[in-house]
């Protein structure tokens, strides 16, 4: 196998890897800015320079020349090379800044140039703390600046579009943002204008940077030049916890991180997953973060004699729900939801079986024409495929209404969704409705006999199956009131969580929502009915699902890990 020597370490390689990527893959850090694995390689930042030598060959014979001791004679390229664009070849000898003073000096000097007109406003910059420029200036940069002149001032606070703000002074002209719009999203809305010290990226006159994937440029920008209109100046990076999760506004199941401070989700950023979303995330998947913080219920409620919803204890609410189901018996209809996890929908099916009622289907959320064949889909909920694989079908509104009218349905159990819209409030006058709701704006509350606040995807544990049949997990990113040990064990911890105590000044217990995950509520309702529904946390529930349900054979939390796993495709057709 061909091999290269990097800083004296001999490594084998296959194919034609580029040096920078090869080094990164082998844990050898090389400073770089413009290179991005998903985009073309312009080699314009010059930060990734290395010294490369190749074995000398005899012109006539093509043989590698050797010195007296039989070692190949290495001839170095006259100038340093950019590792991002260099395709490695057999026998090459590479020196990074670790073993070459020349490279170290070159990287320092490049950095000095990059910083000449940089405003050095890290103390007020959103990128500080996770800024490649900051980190690399610290690691590979010069001690200080020798530039004693006026810095070039470029436009600041430029709204490129409705979601992205540019600070051109911070920009190092790596062109990643421009390449994103040219090569990945193909909106071609950005370009670099002017030249020399004057250049920076912007939209041409009359064009707004409003494509549905615009916010990805914020993530690819290696400095703080591009920031989010929404998140600008909201929090410092080290104040937040970052929990791996799944985006919920489309059925693609794009992988994301939820960033939480003080128990509020402040932003959502993409989490790379080559099988699903690569490095990208649609703007809608990011901007939905407010739903986790706003309009959340204050606790369980039941409808009192006066006909209004009244706050009660969890026990009371659960026993009300149980007695409604008991009274209805076979007249109880259960509605699942594409917003709820596989575990919760499956528990709903189990509860229905126990009470003799019937699952009438799941709520799907189709917005025809919304999808683009990439990360945005017509389906605006994360788990319709999961529901289908559990054998559920989308609820048929007409059929349901007919059955409500002829009185065969006397109670309706709605899991984590809103049936008003599919049905009208008038349709539900005669029925007792139990709803697990996320928000106080859920219109089913108007007709609910018992309202049980449910944990959202940012607060629970569970599985979603995306439209390609890829099963992935969500993890709790924020704490809810009375969170169970199961939830806490899975929780991402912030620095304050890890090192703080409740007596610290910054310790904050606000924004704990009084809700419970449905995988706690459904078994509790069953228990109040005297029935038994598997309990014991979502991990065990998934174990049971994979044993009892063919479509989920082999699925476990361990197998899904952080990147998810594909489910067998054949089942998909059968259920559909």
């Amino acid at each position: 196998m061909p091999q290269v020597t990097i800083d004296g370490r001999v490594l084998e390689f296959e194919g034609q890897p580029r040096l920078l990527q090869f080094c990164l893959d082998h844990g050898i850090e090389l400073p770089h800015f413009c290179y991005h694995p998903a985009m073309s390689v312009p080699a314009n930042c010059r930060q990734c320079l290395v010294d490369i030598g190749a074995p000398m060959r005899d012109r006539a014979t093509g043989e590698v020349r050797t010195d007296g001791e039989g070692n190949p004679v290495i001839r170095y390229f006259p100038k340093l090379q950019t590792s991002c664009s260099h395709v490695i070849a057999d026998g090459q000898v590479i020196h990074t800044a670790r073993t070459s003073e020349k490279v170290e000096r070159a990287q320092q000097d490049t950095m000095e140039f990059l910083l000449i007109n940089h405003p050095l406003d890290c103390p007020i910059c959103d990128q500080a703390g996770h800024c490649p420029l900051q980190i690399q200036a610290y690691k590979y940069g010069p001690e200080g600046s020798r530039f004693e002149f006026r810095k070039v001032h470029k436009p600041k606070r430029v709204r490129l579009g409705p979601r992205v703000v540019l600070d051109a002074e911070r920009c190092i002209n790596c062109t990643r943002c421009v390449r994103f719009t040219d090569e990945i999203s193909r909106s071609h809305q950005l370009t670099i204008i002017e030249r020399g010290v004057k250049n920076y990226p912007i939209t041409p006159p009359g064009v707004e940077f409003d494509e549905p994937y615009s916010m990805n440029v914020i993530d690819v920008c290696p400095v703080g030049a591009l920031t989010s209109v929404d998140f600008r100046f909201q929090a410092r990076i080290w104040e937040m916890t970052r929990t791996p999760s799944i985006a919920t506004t489309h059925a693609k199941g794009s992988n994301c991180f939820l960033w939480v401070r003080d128990n509020l989700v402040l932003r959502i950023t993409p989490r790379p997953n080559p099988e699903v979303n690569e490095y990208w995330l649609a703007d809608e998947d990011r901007l939905c973060y407010r739903q986790f913080n706003e309009d959340r219920p204050a606790g369980p409620q039941v409808r009192n004699a006066a006909g209004t919803l009244e706050a009660v204890s969890w026990e009371q609410a659960i026993s009300t729900a149980a007695s409604v189901l008991e009274k209805a018996g076979a007249g109880a209809a259960f509605v699942g939801s594409a917003r709820a996890t596989v575990e919760d929908n499956w528990l709903l099916i189990q509860l229905a079986e126990q009470t003799g009622g019937q699952v009438v289907g799941f709520m799907e959320h189709i917005e025809a024409g919304h999808g683009d064949g990439w990360l945005r889909t017509d389906e605006r909920a994360p788990n319709s495929e999961g529901c289908r694989r559990l054998g559920m079908t989308p609820v048929d509104g007409t059929m349901l209404r007919a059955r409500l009218e002829d009185g065969t349905i006397t109670a309706l159990y709605v899991l984590e969704d809103d049936v008003i819209g599919l049905l009208s409030a008038a349709d539900l006058q005669e029925v007792s409705v139990i709803v697990h709701h996320y928000h106080t704006t859920n219109r089913t509350l108007e007709v609910a006999a018992a309202a049980l606040p449910a944990a959202m995807s940012a607060e629970t544990i569970g599985t979603y199956v995306n439209l390609d049949g890829y099963a992935q997990r969500v993890r709790p990113a924020k704490v809810i009131q009375g969170a169970s040990r199961t939830l806490m064990m899975q929780m991402g911890l912030s620095r304050a969580d890890r090192h703080g105590t409740p007596f610290d000044r910054w310790y904050n217990e606000t924004h704990y929502i009084n809700c419970k995950p449905s995988w706690e509520l459904l078994p509790a309702v069953a228990e109040a009915l005297g029935a038994k529904v598997p309990a014991g946390g979502p991990r065990r529930i998934m174990e049971q699902i994979s044993q009892r349900c063919d479509a989920f054979r082999g699925v476990s939390y361990k197998a899904m890990g952080l990147e998810g796993m594909p489910l067998p495709a054949s089942i998909q057709l059968e259920a559909a």
């Binding site: 006026r150 810095k151 070039v152 001032h153 470029k154 436009p155 430029v158 051109a168 719009t181 040219d182 071609h188 809305q189 950005l190 370009t191 670099i192 204008i193 002017e194 030249r195 020399g196 010290v197 004057k198 920076y200 912007i202 939209t203 041409p204 006159p205 009359g206 064009v207």
Partner: protein
């Protein structure tokens, strides 16, 4: 464009200026279209022809406001943003309306050393305008530009993307302004390097209307 050295501020271009040309005016004739098609064929991809088509558009419309850039982009089937990026890179493409004569004074490295800024300041004073501006009568625009590739005869300037005026002195500037105002065409001057003096009577180019012998300008000239 005020003095960039003393006040280095890059302005934001106007985000959506009023168009200068109507939809009726914004067309290429069939002849022009054929020529564009022919140029595109000379390159592997259409982007190769972008500079030429921008040039054509500038000759036709006088300058390149956004609506003309859009026309160029659609003629080449390229993204408008890309065409805009190319047009802003070169000072030779006029993004706004200019005077009858555009005086591009080089203030890049060599010219700067040899007195480019003095010449620029002299022009500004003489025409009573700031760089980047046009005289009220609309005759002259003065611009500060980067290296025009004639460093050997620095300081120099170029008139309306055409003739070069080499080895500038105040007297030469005066004479040039006078000539332009009189409606005279400035000749295309070829500069001759010492080593070429023996050949072709000192003139390297047979198509040049005039030639100047190479001199070492200007500091050492004073001592000669």
């Amino acid at each position: 464009m005020a003095d960039f050295i003393r006040n280095p501020v890059v302005a934001l271009p106007e985000s959506d200026p009023e168009p200068h040309f109507s939809a009726v005016e914004l067309v290429f004739t069939d002849g022009e279209k054929d020529e564009i098609a022919r140029r595109i064929k000379q390159y592997p991809t259409a982007d190769g022809a972008v500079m030429w088509v921008l040039w054509l558009a500038q000759e036709k419309f006088g300058f390149l406001p956004p609506e003309v850039l859009r026309l160029v982009a659609s003629a080449l089937d390229l993204p408008y943003a890309q065409v805009y990026g190319v047009a802003t890179f070169y000072t030779q493409y006029y993004k706004g309306k200019k005077g009858k004569f555009v005086l591009d004074v080089c203030t890049c490295f060599t010219c700067q050393f040899c007195g480019g800024y003095d010449m620029l300041a002299y022009l500004e004073e003489k025409l009573d305008i700031q760089r980047g501006h046009t005289t009220p009568c609309g005759t002259f625009t003065v611009q500060e530009v980067e290296c025009l590739g004639a460093c050997g005869s620095a300081p120099m300037l170029q008139v309306s993307n055409g003739s070069y005026v080499h080895n500038l002195t105040r007297a030469k500037v005066d004479a040039m302004l006078e000539a332009l105002q009189q409606g005279e065409q400035l000749p295309f001057v070829s500069l001759t390097l010492p080593q070429d003096e023996d050949e072709m009577g000192g003139n390297r180019r047979t198509d040049a209307e005039a030639s100047e012998l190479y001199q070492t300008p200007p500091a050492s000239r004073a001592t000669q």
